[in-house]
Symmetry: C2
Subunit: 293 residues, 2 copies
């Protein structure tokens, strides 16, 4: 793992790209013959929130590209209040990089942006991994006011990453231990850190979730228009974006495999990083037009 540690998200320098709309902060590392993997981040997350135990193994065989959307981290501009606005920035960024095709890992909010991008520019993604996310018209998306989440978000004894451990992981000792290990991996990066998100970022992204919950036309019908082989992943006890949303994705996307993990919440990919990266790598390695891998 020495190569991954040297060339992964713990030490990779943050770079900046001037797009048509904004200047975007990003990191890229890894190499190989496979298509690059664009990683789209969760609610309020920055480049520093990507677990190296997930990003670095995936950078073996391909470039991994982490990206701050407009107004997040050290990217310029304002956070859009719609998923479509965020998708527009991500496409602007990829155009700036000169990339006309890649794979995508969209986590939570990032998974919604990935779906929108797939509709706006069907040629961009070859294969998609959607983790802990929801289709347009999904249910109970990021309802931070519900007691299971609010009790942690309003707990004055929990600061910074300690909140993430509570709300991204299930309330079992095994899942909480995995959460502690996850936090331990994030804090290994100590230099060239991103700017943490404040209330303005959270408010704009929350507005985008509310807009995304509104179905347009027949519920989930637009998913039929995303033919890409897709791997849908969720923790079975996700309180932030319930697993029922992954069920609806898998039932309505024409070409999606569903993988759900036990004893885990929103951060299932971090909790089961060895399994997740093994599945993700096998899925991405397939050249089949069909999703099963």
């Amino acid at each position: 793992m020495s190569i991954a540690t040297k060339d992964g998200n713990t030490t990779a320098p943050t770079r900046f790209l001037r797009g048509r709309h904004e200047t975007y902060a990003y990191r890229r590392f890894g190499s190989g013959a496979a298509r690059p993997l664009l990683c789209l981040q969760h609610f309020t997350g920055t480049l520093d929130n990507w677990d190296p135990a997930v990003t670095d193994p995936l950078a073996s065989g391909r470039e991994v590209i982490l990206f701050d959307s407009a107004g997040v981290g050290r990217s310029s501009g304002k956070v859009p209040i719609t998923i479509a606005g965020m998708a527009s920035h991500a496409l602007d960024f990829l155009d700036g990089l000169g990339l006309d095709g890649c794979d995508v890992l969209g986590f939570s909010l990032g998974g919604m942006v990935a779906q929108q991008m797939a509709r706006d520019r069907p040629s961009m993604f070859r294969r998609m991994i959607l983790v802990g996310t929801a289709p347009r018209g999904g249910e109970e998306i990021m309802r931070l006011e519900k007691p299971s989440l609010a009790r942690h978000l309003s707990d004055p004894t929990l600061k910074g990453y300690a909140v993430l451990q509570k709300i991204f992981f299930a309330p079992t000792s095994s899942s909480q231990a995995a959460g502690e290990a996850f936090i331990g991996r994030l804090v290994q990066r100590t230099e060239d850190l991103d700017t943490a998100s404040g209330p303005a970022v959270a408010a704009a992204q929350m507005a985008a979730f509310r807009e995304w919950e509104q179905a347009t036309g027949i519920r989930f019908a637009e998913l039929k228009g995303i033919p890409q082989p897709t791997l849908v992943v969720n923790g079975i006890h996700d309180e932030m974006i319930p697993v029922s949303n992954s069920y609806r994705l898998s039932e309505n996307l024409p070409n999606a495999v569903l993988l759900a993990y036990p004893d885990s919440g929103h951060g299932s990919l971090f909790q089961f990083h060895e399994s997740f990266t093994r599945h993700a790598a096998a899925f991405l390695a397939s050249d089949s037009p069909s999703a099963p891998y």
Copy 2:
């Protein structure tokens, strides 16, 4: 694949074992250091209904054991009208073989029997694979009267395996083509065939489904008592035992990974046999106490 063809379900001789209760027909083939894999069959299925494209690759590295429960195929006795009765026969059979531990692949009806066995004899199974099945208290289990199934079952132009192709596979050209290939593999076995199930077998097994649909106590609570690492698999468009039953299994079993396949029905394991056997082999190869593989 020459070894698998020579030593798989197309040519393996049927054997008979005198248990305490009945004489059971079975086949066993393959070898290796891993625990044997007991395969428990679907509604009206016999030894001849096991797809060699599923059983034979799994027999690389372990013994695969196919089994006719009482009153099915050439096993003696009457078909029990409860899942518990069927579980009792399967345990009788394993006792007769002198096996005190194995893994299990339970498909459809067989997945219910496997769950019951895990409760009745917790030490028997190390790892479980439950495909296209339902927990006790599950919903819409084998409702053959519903139009999507009845139209095929009552179609006089469909005979024998042609019905299976319709009801085990989704109504897309890709899934139906997979169904045709599946039937083609089944009919490769031409000698030492099992006795096909008649109406008495179907009626008793249907009674067992209706009994299994009745929850006892708090719905799904008994699943907490099945701690074995479990892989739950389903086709996303299963009309015979809807995928919602696999959702409930995964949500309530404490240690289960869910894998759902697109564009497929009840026979997803046969449609995606290459993917399924790859996942099943990786899952069975794990010695972790945790299900993710």
